[in-house]
Point group: C2
Chain length 875, copies 2
Amino acid sequence: MKYVYKFGPDGAEGEASMKELLGGKGANLAEMARIGLPVPPGFTITTEACIHYFRTNGELPEGLDNGVEEALRDVEKRAGSRFGDPQNPLLVSVRSGARVSMPGMMDTVLNIGLNDETVKGLAAKADERFAFDSYRRLIQMYSNVVMGLPREDFEDILERVKRKEGVKYDMELGPDALKEVVEEYKEKVKDKGLKFPQDPLDQLWDAIKAVFGSWNTPRAKTYRKISDIPEDWGTACNVQAMVFGNLGPDSGTGVGFTRDPSTGEHGLYGEYLLNAQGEDVVAGIRTPRLLANLKDELSEMHGQLLDVARTLEDHYKDVQDFEFTIQSGKLYMLQTRTGKRTSQAAVRIAHDMVKEGLIDKVEAIRRIAPEQLEQVLHRRIDTSAQVKIIAKGLNASPGAATGEVIFDTDEADELGSRGEKIILVRLETTPEDIHGIVSAQGILTSRGGMTCHAAVVARGMGKPAVVGSGGISIDMEREKFVAGDFTVNKGDVITIDGSTGNVILGEVPMVDPEMGPELLELLSWADDVRKIGVRANADTPEAASRAREFGAEGIGLCRTERMFNDPSRLPIVQEMIIARDEAGRRKVLDELKPMQKGDFKEIFKAMDGLPVTIRLIDLPLHEFLPNFEELLVEVTKNRMNGVKDEDKELMLKRLRELMEHNPMLGHRGCRIGIRYPEIYEMQVRAIIEAACELQREGLVVKPEIMMPLIGHYREMAMLRELAVRTAGEVMDQFGERLEYKVGTMIELPRGALTASQIARHADFFSFGTNDLTQTTFGYSRDDAESKFLPDYIDKRILSQNPFEVLDRDGVGRLVAIAIEEGREANPKLKVGICGEHGGNPSSIEFFYKTGLDYVSCSSFRVPVARLAAARYSIE
Amino acid sequence: MKYVYKFGPDGAEGEASMKELLGGKGANLAEMARIGLPVPPGFTITTEACIHYFRTNGELPEGLDNGVEEALRDVEKRAGSRFGDPQNPLLVSVRSGARVSMPGMMDTVLNIGLNDETVKGLAAKADERFAFDSYRRLIQMYSNVVMGLPREDFEDILERVKRKEGVKYDMELGPDALKEVVEEYKEKVKDKGLKFPQDPLDQLWDAIKAVFGSWNTPRAKTYRKISDIPEDWGTACNVQAMVFGNLGPDSGTGVGFTRDPSTGEHGLYGEYLLNAQGEDVVAGIRTPRLLANLKDELSEMHGQLLDVARTLEDHYKDVQDFEFTIQSGKLYMLQTRTGKRTSQAAVRIAHDMVKEGLIDKVEAIRRIAPEQLEQVLHRRIDTSAQVKIIAKGLNASPGAATGEVIFDTDEADELGSRGEKIILVRLETTPEDIHGIVSAQGILTSRGGMTCHAAVVARGMGKPAVVGSGGISIDMEREKFVAGDFTVNKGDVITIDGSTGNVILGEVPMVDPEMGPELLELLSWADDVRKIGVRANADTPEAASRAREFGAEGIGLCRTERMFNDPSRLPIVQEMIIARDEAGRRKVLDELKPMQKGDFKEIFKAMDGLPVTIRLIDLPLHEFLPNFEELLVEVTKNRMNGVKDEDKELMLKRLRELMEHNPMLGHRGCRIGIRYPEIYEMQVRAIIEAACELQREGLVVKPEIMMPLIGHYREMAMLRELAVRTAGEVMDQFGERLEYKVGTMIELPRGALTASQIARHADFFSFGTNDLTQTTFGYSRDDAESKFLPDYIDKRILSQNPFEVLDRDGVGRLVAIAIEEGREANPKLKVGICGEHGGNPSSIEFFYKTGLDYVSCSSFRVPVARLAAARYSIE
């Protein structure tokens, strides 16, 4: 078994395709070496060695020692120095590298090979200050990563020495001071009953084991859980000759993207620090300069980087995120990987790369995860709004977010998990803050750059973030921050705009997103290949117009009860509900009809030429009445005060009559239409009158009348008869003939199981997968998501929330049964889905495979659905 | 097409098997004629003629007139008199007769053939008083049945003349008074603008049409709806020579059963009135004598009746219910039919007939409708209870009932439909009271005999009834009755005991029914042939013992939450629920464990040797807390009064947290076990400890641990692991090995749809068809049955309440899927059902066909299930 793969300036044993074995970093180091980019020599220990290490409870596989030693000799040869040589010591880095990037989650030890002897050799060969600074860094990292000592203990020593020397920055410390730090560091280790090993090989092996072990830190486990990374992958370990960016003004280190990862704009994008080591950049402690400035400071290096970036993109056909170090005027590439990008950038890049001939259209569609599109369609701050900007920072992750300011990560997690909207405010974030970031609406930091931890993580999660906002001064202890004249305390509400970097006081009006030209073109390519229709769920004329703009090919669900909920109509509806008999209801329905008809006309106009599926009223009637608890308290108080409010008493009585133990399974849906046919009759009349009037005006109206919650074919037969009779009467009255359909939601298990009976009375089925999920699982969504579902997902009983991702084994099976048997009974049956799953990409895959004619989802998800439908049609 | 079938003393054209064509009465008149019993000559007009009459909107079929006239000539010949002959007139009766008996629902006209002329001939031939009394009766019936005039108008005239003559009874009126009545009757008809027809043939045809038409009276329609009799059957019409029981002291009329229809006891049973017409008996106006007394009054007739009864039973192989008339010392049979009987009687009769060699065991099982057994198992009044008997009546329909006294039929219907328990109290009942009887718990009348309307109808419905309670004096107007010293007002609560005839003041303690030796033997025959197991649902040791007595072969469902609900434990449970963490819960669980263990031990003891399926806790936790509304009102009042009750406030807060929108679909079932494993762990520990202790004592314990509400195999896998681990620990502790099973309820559609996955982790499935019906239909039972289900059944959307009779298309399909796929995945899987459908005969048929191993139902239904299982196994 080969456990060690070498790479260097003259080629490599591995290659990019070997990520499983070599991890992402190792595979790409090998690939860069292969295509001639300047990579310091080194070798990768495979993930299999790591897995072996775990399986055997900490034993390294046989032959690994020889492999490493042989590879180390090879590195020595290529580097021209020797490991442990007191005169000319080779220093190496030991870095983790899993199959997929887990930024900041695992450990690294640099400068391995330094000890009390070799440090002198390095000092003689390079510079004394540099040598002892390197040694200091090694002991500090080693103590923390390998020995598990607290980082703070060593920071304290450094701070003390800096104070003593009267300096502010580490780099201002002279060689003697650094020697003192080294001695104190070693003392500190000794105080803890440990010893910093002087044998470089001991250092190396301990570091390798520590890197393996860092796969299992709590923060790494949390990250894998969130990112759905399997536990058993393990990490590879990369050992590589050190190159130093802190050897003087012609040295430096930096990270870059071949295009702007935030906007997708063309051109080198990134940051660097001269005379610094890589960790200084990533940790976000010193604020680095933009790569554009390198042109002025080290113009040749800038030119080389541009060449490298072009080579990388030409080779990888995608944006690359790379790390480099310049050691005394020579460029070294330390890492490359596919660049994470915002969704906006992903769209632009995919689009541009087609135009540049790098990829084809199908590949462009494949490049955008449909989920990403949701972010593009994030709401943003209304530019016309008067807002109070109190600070600015870097626009690290786009989108706007509003919430209460919280400084403590655990508290942010707790409040956020409970559904409170919060903004996590930190000096900077570290991997330990990951749970707080997950639970927050957005992140604000006072330190760090575009590639600092907070920025990278937030972009990955599609969460708005403003980082490095130097204008705010955070007092962590008192839990407040000051921005100019303003003091913001814990619990105050702010808004951050991750697209502009603005920090704004209070809540701010937001506007709906628009789609840029790149996205529109990309979606048009998607429309060319997709084989399943996309409609929108829209209840108002405005929503209908928006749906059309977003490319919906019709309305798949127009919920008429939303129209009843309008504040101006609510009293009328309440009157209808309190009415004791049909005559009373009819009187009120006569008032409601013109209102509904007006709504329908507007919606039909907006959707001229396209089908509009209108669901007759579904909700339990008592939902239109006042809150029971409030009313009860009020009436109780009135009674105690001797006040007799007859109306309130009557309302309470009626409410009690209408209240249900399980309204979800109660008197709702078509059950209302069966019990009070006059309500459905009014609605059908309003629909057909609206359609007839518009048809007369020359519009093309295609109403589809949908009966909710059908569980028995006789319900459907009875309501179809009602609809057809009523529509016939109206059409006769208008002397018009309309093309209209009458169909049903399939949202009950029994509806699906008896689809063959129901299909005989229906022109179409539309799956209401939300309710179908509720009844199939026996979950009340309102209760489940706040009570036990999080626990279920946590305990891995469910891999996903079934209200977000369709459950194929249970709900999906019912859908498949209904489609197959429904079509068999009625070959003309049209079949769609209008539950929230209609906009969920993974669910769309299922719907596509199951043979649905269309999916319908909320307007904002229409582009997502178009793209998802295209992807699955391609596959 | 032959529309008329003749019968008479010398044979018949029809026979008993021709009920569809000739109706029950007509077919059996023919059959009696065939086997030589004395039947007055007559003929039957077929149901087809009736159906034709309806289809053509009132036209009689072609050829019917000739058929009737020809048959009439035949009757004249056999009777020796002529229709319309002024000297020797033939009188006939015209009676309805549908396929199945609809007692009192349709119309009859007697004495047809009398007019102003023929009445004189009859007077000359027989007796003047008798002739005019017969004429009076004809006009009275004819006016009501054919002309639709109110009965009361004629009753009033009769009453007036009786007052004038100073007599109390009709029979005391002399010929002149009767002539006056006849004249006044004719005047009354004339007053209404009508005329009583003098042509006997007009009378005959009008009466035939009226009989046909009476199929469609509202009361007949109501009866058919209740009894599930198709509307399109129609009725036959029987025309038969009159025989008279009112020709003097050697005449009489009566009804009888070949065995006691109430107890099944052997021997002639019935009632008669001398010198009376049949209507006097059935209408319940005069209280008749028991048939036993006939031996003293007309000994020869009694002997002949005994012979007839034996002939009938030998021929029909079943108990017969017959009508007879004795005309001047000669016996005539007017009707026979299968005797309706109480369920108790049905059991005894089926049993005895096997012993007598009349039928075989399989036939005996077929003879008992499983539904009837439920009545046998009715609760009855605790004989040890101190009760205040205020009156006695006839024990017309067994069983005891308690309720508020209501006198008005409509009011009884309204209150009863709303679920109020009421006792309908009437002077006597008529077919117009049918809806009130349906809605009442029991019936009490002051008049009528064992075969009066109230008695017959109540027995048919299995509803307790006490009739002819002469000791009570009812004031209908003031809505009260007096019984001795007691006055009972409308709304007062009484109890009637239909088994003893007692009327008791107030509510009375009841005891559970016992099974008599005949039933036990019958059920043992059933056990011999049935092929599906029967278990009981029982939650307490008492219920377990009873289940065993009733023949349960194990417990299919023991609900542990019922044990938590015990008043002495409730505070402990509430403490557990309010506990904020696992430690708090464990503390309380330690207190609960010995209690549960004690329960389990008692149940295991009662079921020694038989399996006991114990369902771990299922209910939503908040159901164990106080009522929210009451608590809210209390806390609101406290607050207004400035009282601070911390405990109540805390409870309200916790209650609000625990409250769910749809508790049925909320945090219940195995979701509690997943969230709080310590609760299930305690329960498993209690079960296995109880079992181990008893096994040590030499008992055979077969616990089956059942997880409720499983919807995903991972739930099952996790909880099985918990159960097996815990059981293992306990068994190790005891050093015992137990045979135990771990399985699941299948009560969610997803559970059924993914049965193949779940079965891999389960030893058994038990279908919870109640919950499965709720989720498959999307019906909350609590809401549906009080809100829309009655409407659905009324509108014929559903033919039955799916919570009572299993829905085969939807719920049944899921059951079938789960059994097939579950067994495929795990061939050892045991499958049962423990929902309420387990005791429903029609559902048992389905379960038998679907291949379940057993059904489990409430103890009282175990005998029903045993019988039903046998019936379907025979078929």
